[in-house]
Symmetry: C3
Subunit: 352 residues, 3 copies
């Protein structure tokens, strides 16, 4: 798998540059950009992982929590610069429902086809549930509803206030998890073999260089990718919302997607669930508010106000996931239910 990604990077990046300079057709470039980003994201993931192991669990957790969705953040900043607020919010929505329903759903299904019942840490699940409800039901819903009776200026004030609170709470959550309550809610599995001490794949210097280069490359490709959306939308008859919610979200999360499924297949459900839920929380409590604050420096500030279908899709995805996950057990049918929910939303956004 890693070799495939390596080849993809070494072919994809130069072709992206050449294609962009020679103005190759947008649809072709869209495909090339997407594949290249997926491969680059896997490099970024491996570099972050190595650094996290070297830095120890606390700083490592912080690193993972910050760089884990760097690709989405980068794509979104270029969309923001291009004034495509709708695409930004759509891709963040897509990231939330994609991580919850597609990534977790596929993990539950694949893992469940091999094991009858799979368990994960129910305390972590509940901790994540609380944060999901906070982020989606409160931080996203309140501006949605209140903005109907607010002027634009006040909506921006509310969005900025909420964004700051989101980031503070996100940092407090890290502090809670990595410092004050580290290991407190650990469930010791008696049959568990103590994990061999993990070895970093790359040295510190190598990892930093790779991370820096891959980030630069992602930034370059992302900027070009954003400008193909309009042409692709026309060619395939897709709405920009569908591109944002389904396509960009799948591309941006492909790396997480692959590792979560692999972990589920190895019956390491704690890790699989952490990837899917952790990534959702990162997007909604860190990437979204950072983008709202960043937008203050661009031409037009972006309010934290999703479209009604986006908001509803996120609310029901969170509700379904919490109801299914709150018992700390999964099986193939729970995965199938989540995938069915994802397909329904996909059809809905496609028709919209």
């Amino acid at each position: 798998m890693n070799r495939v990604f390596s080849i993809l990077v070494f072919i994809g990046v130069p072709i992206s540059v050449i294609g962009a300079l020679l103005h190759w057709p947008s649809v072709l470039m869209f495909v090339i950009y997407c594949l290249t980003i997926v491969a680059l994201a896997s490099f970024m993931g491996r570099a972050t992982e190595s650094l996290a192991i070297i830095a120890g669990p606390r700083i490592g957790g912080l690193l993972n929590a910050t760089f884990g969705n760097a690709v989405e953040l980068i794509i979104s900043i270029f969309s923001l610069q291009a004034g495509l607020h709708q695409v930004v919010l759509a891709s963040l929505t897509g990231s939330v429902i994609g991580n919850l329903l597609l990534v977790a759903g596929m993990s539950f299904l694949v893992g469940g086809l091999k094991y009858k019942r799979q368990k994960f840490n129910v305390y972590d699940a509940r901790h994540n549930s609380g944060l999901l409800i906070f982020a989606v039901f409160i931080a996203f819903v309140i501006p949605e509803v209140f903005s109907m009776n607010l002027s634009n200026g006040k909506t921006i004030s509310l969005s900025v206030g909420i964004s700051i609170i989101l980031i503070i709470l996100y940092l407090l959550a890290l502090f809670f998890k990595l410092v004050t309550h580290r290991g407190i809610y650990q469930i010791r599995d008696e049959n568990e073999v103590v994990d061999e001490k993990e070895e970093p794949e790359w040295s510190k210097t190598k990892a930093i260089i790779i991370l820096a280069l891959a980030t630069l490359a992602v930034a370059y490709v992302s900027e070009n990718l954003v400008h193909t959306f309009e042409a692709v939308a026309k060619s395939f008859g897709w709405s920009e919302m569908f591109i944002g919610i389904i396509i960009v979200a799948i591309v941006g999360n492909a790396a997480e997607h692959a590792s979560a499924i692999l972990m589920a297949y190895k019956n390491k459900m704690d890790v699989a669930v952490e990837i899917a839920f952790g990534s959702t929380l990162q997007v909604s409590m860190f990437v979204v508010p950072v983008l709202v604050l960043a937008s203050l420096f661009f031409e037009k500030a972006m309010p934290l106000v999703f479209s009604i279908p986006e908001m509803v899709a996120m609310i029901v995805s969170v509700t379904l996931t919490i109801i299914l996950a709150n018992d700390g057990e999964t099986n193939w049918f729970e995965g199938a239910t989540m995938l069915a929910a994802y397909i329904i939303m996909g059809i809905g956004f496609f028709l919209l």
Copy 2:
């Protein structure tokens, strides 16, 4: 009880025919039709039960899952044919909230007056909760919200797509419950006496004949029933929505209602809960989508779009039920709470 129903059938069916031919007053016929259907439904239930015992648990489960709400299905198809989309959706809404709040609520109350605490299988409850959320919060809510921005044609496409997914997931749920995970989540109660092997009430042939005849009779009576709605609505000052949601739902579910309460009274809460929840899931994941698909063959296709009050009533009923039931325990007060919720909705739909 069975004898009462026998007498009711042997008097009700001929009187229904005679009354219809002689054009007796609509309100009188409405009452006669309702009573006859209740009695016929009990015959269908007993025939299905016998066949299920003969066929063994797997095919039996499938039989129960298909014929359990045959009466609703038949009444609805005639309403569909008469173009009464509103009545169809109203009676399905009524079936969902009636099974959840009235049937389960009454069971919890009656059982709870005899026993302080009653328990049921918490795994089954959680499995059902997930499906309820899927059906009501996702499969029903998404077209509700998205259709506001969709053309009629696209709303029908979305409805058809979702209906197909609902039916597939319903079949997968049966497969999960009857095949891959049969007995896996069983909680062995130590005090439980092993059930004597069940004897079917009727032989295979007799059961099939009775099922066929009763189904035909229900079909005949239902068709006539549907045509009395308008007159009854006028006479009593009821809205058609109230007839659909409260009256038709109570008639269509009277048989389930009686057996659930009986089971609760015998402290067999697993069975009582399964009847109430199972019936709700059958309606929402099988009857509703089958009707949407069937409507494609009639003059006007029926979109899967409930009215706002119906949608809200279903959402809050599901939420209350899940919060109350998810701990696998009941008492009389939980039953009283559910009945209070049902009465509030009844008043609401009456005034509407």
Copy 3:
């Protein structure tokens, strides 16, 4: 603390009278009235507590359940009389979200800073969750949604019907808790020292006299308080909604607030949670319906219809609280999450 309140009462009440007679500036009087009410409420709380101990657990529970939110009730009746329906509903909303998010949140945070994990009775929490869902999701949401399609007269009928059901269910809940299921769901903590028999602070006669006098004084001060709202709103640029939801709610609940935090700090989470949740239920299942029924005797009947932002704020507060509390455990981060949610809503209502 008690001494401070005593001094505050003996200074605050006469100054309130003098200031009102001499027409001191509204903003100054607003502050004096608020402080005086907080101090009087603490006296009422101590008197009720003494009477409850003397009367034994059953009548005591009833007393607490009736007088616990007497201050809110009194302030609201004067607002009702002044025709300020918006302020009434706003202060009740504020009481619900304030008790759930601010009082409980602060208790969890303060308690959690001292103890890593705090536990409370999970059965009580689930019982309260069911009632919260019933009150907010059903009794408040149904008139909200149905009233959109109802005439004013029918909305009042629905409101009256629901109010009667709410009061009946509230009484049934007391009957359940104090009579039929008293002590059934108690979790015996092995390390718990058996509580010494509680001694009432005041004798029966003294408690009744103090309760009567304090109630009269609260009534007098509240009536004056209500008439300062308009001037205060103008002076500070606050909306009347903000005054009702945030300021009045904090004043009306200051006493509960203080004792809940104190209990959490002593690791008596059962009591802290009971104060916060019990107070919310009292407001939503007793104070609200009593006010709706009382409004029938005033000039204009008050429908049980909150504004959309109020309704949404209550729904999401209940959801977050249930998800966080349903496991019977708390920590500082759960408290921080609830406070963050409260701040977001505060900003929202401030900007509105």
